[in-house]
Amino acid sequence: MNRRRVFTSVALSVGLAVMLGGAVLTRTVPPFDLAVDLAKGIPQSGVTHPITAVLLQFRSYDTLLEIAVLLVAVVVALALRDPQGAHSAAPESVMVDSVITTPVLASLTLMLLPLMIMTAVYLLWAGAFQPGGAFQAGAVLAALGILWRVSGRRIGPFATNRWQHVALLSGFAAFLAAATSTLLFGRPLLAWPFSYAGLIIVAIETVLTVSIGISLLGLFASAPEPVDKRA
């Protein structure tokens, strides 16, 4: 690395630290306190845990767009899967150098399979009243899928498999459908009716969990196969 580049980077870094440090240390207590409004709104939200309420009630629009972001990342991953247009020998094969072929991993993965699924389901269910929810559960499922692939087992061709494709889309599609259905009843977008709010939130989170799990796994599995390191 040349010295001029290092010097400017250090200078920028120090400048940024000073600026941010000054801002952080001089902050005074803010005028608005949303936590108070939040506490008042929780009884009508259908869930008891405040973070889940913020994610799926008060700021559900952010969550909708964020799932769209995840979906876009997966779509680009799928699009770049096969850049030559030709179907290579095994486009969905497990990455050759990332398979760890010890019997310990293989049998451990098998043992972990039911445990991880159960953990995911628990996290999903618990999200209503304590930390947990769709993302956490989906991440556990994705981790399971990654272990499965790294231990050498196949999950099947990705996105050409009809069921996986449906699972990928279904989370976002279900969320969007639920969000839009409120418009049909003359309510604003994403305004869950009070008596069904809890049920809708749980249903959306369930479909989202599977979808997020498959999306994260797809992002892992879509990286290209390693090639010979020739220039």
């Binding site: 005074t28 700021r59 779509v75 869950w192």
Partner: protein
Amino acid sequence: MTEPLVGATLLPLAIVVPLLWAVLTLVRPRRRPTWLVLPGLVSWLAICAGLWWQTSRHGVLTHVLGAWPEPLGIALRADGLGSTMALLTSVIGSACALYRLWTPMDADTLGAQHWFWPLFFMFGAALNAVWLAADLFNMYVGLELLGLSAVGLVAISGGANALAAALRYLLAALLGSLAYLLGVALLYAAYGSLALSSIAAVATPNTITYVALALITAGLCLKTALFPLHAWLPPAHAVSLSPVSALMSALVVKASFVMLLRIMMDVGVSIVTPSLAQGLGALGAGAIAWGGWQALRHADLKMLVAHSTVAQIGYLFVGMALLLGGSAPELAWDGLMLQLVAHALAKSAMFLAAGTLIAAVGSYRVADLAGVSRHTPMALFAFGLAGVSLMGLPPSGGFSAKWLLLQSALASGQWHWAVALIGGGALTAGYIFRVLGASFKQGTGDTFESTPFGWDVVALLLALSSIVVGVVATGPLAVLRIGAPLAGATS
């Protein structure tokens, strides 16, 4: 009394309908799903046109999402600027979509391009989400969605160059978004709210607010490719498929600019110092000079047009300087708005026409355009018309925009901006005539490929709109003033 309700319902539909079509086109990705895409484009256009009409008649429209009022919840807001940009997005988006549908695709087209349509509709939804947003964090997520969709569209254009351009774009976009998010984090810590309107009411010029605004400005200027943070733009816009280049130059860079404008004028109204505004304007003048000069030098046609975008972004920041630091903000606002609209129409027309010319000649170089004037006259005419607007010749939209900005500069006594505006026009004329001159040269009898007639039609219609918008400017300008944070504006 049902009319305002219809308007308020159109707001979320402007975002939901493109998202729905993104899902529909994902169900079975195909190269040319014409019968699926066309209804999507029609409904998108209809909704945005209806929204624009409602805004013009009823003023600023608000839609409270989830029925939770701000600042706890999120609201969508359609003022004149937002609904006009949404309408512009649907028009330019539909034009580029038609261009894409008419692109001849043979059997061994890269498999990646099957995924164009889901990314396209996500892109459209993200743009509408940004135009209609009124909440700082919401703008962040919308901007991220926009950035990732755009990067995806660049990456599927194929080839190692597209990958490099997409990577560079992604890194710049992520850095910009992160700087923005850091600014939002500081603002939330300082004020306790994320809704623009509530922060605007209580903003005080203390250290944390200055730092937050500085970060937000830096991040959004990087995303708008303001000189000298522009290096990621020309390769990304030049290497992409033509409809993608058109969409990115016309609309994506404007999204972060409009966000910056909104934040400066709402939260920063008592905080932005005149020197900051002048500083941004100076960078804008630098962009005009640098972009124009590079456009004169590049041998590659699309790089020329991309550098023209860098230059035209400079005009936006000169306009912002006049708006925030000059004494004639109404004129500056009108000029800035018209520049946003006219440039979007002209630049998209120019990229589509350039794509046609490149396809006809089979080469990316300006010098190889010789003889194309007799083979594809319509595309060249569209290119020329778009150039007229970019140069700022009457009676185009570009002329009206620059004229208003000039008037604002002279009224404020800020002559240096007048020099920048006029100088920019001269540079623009330089590179436009360079292309036209190369096209009118005698060809050496090379063979030309035939290009779809629809391509010419679409480019020409967009170019004509950029001229027409200058002639009939008063109507749109009145709508664009609705909800503008100016003294004496209607709301």
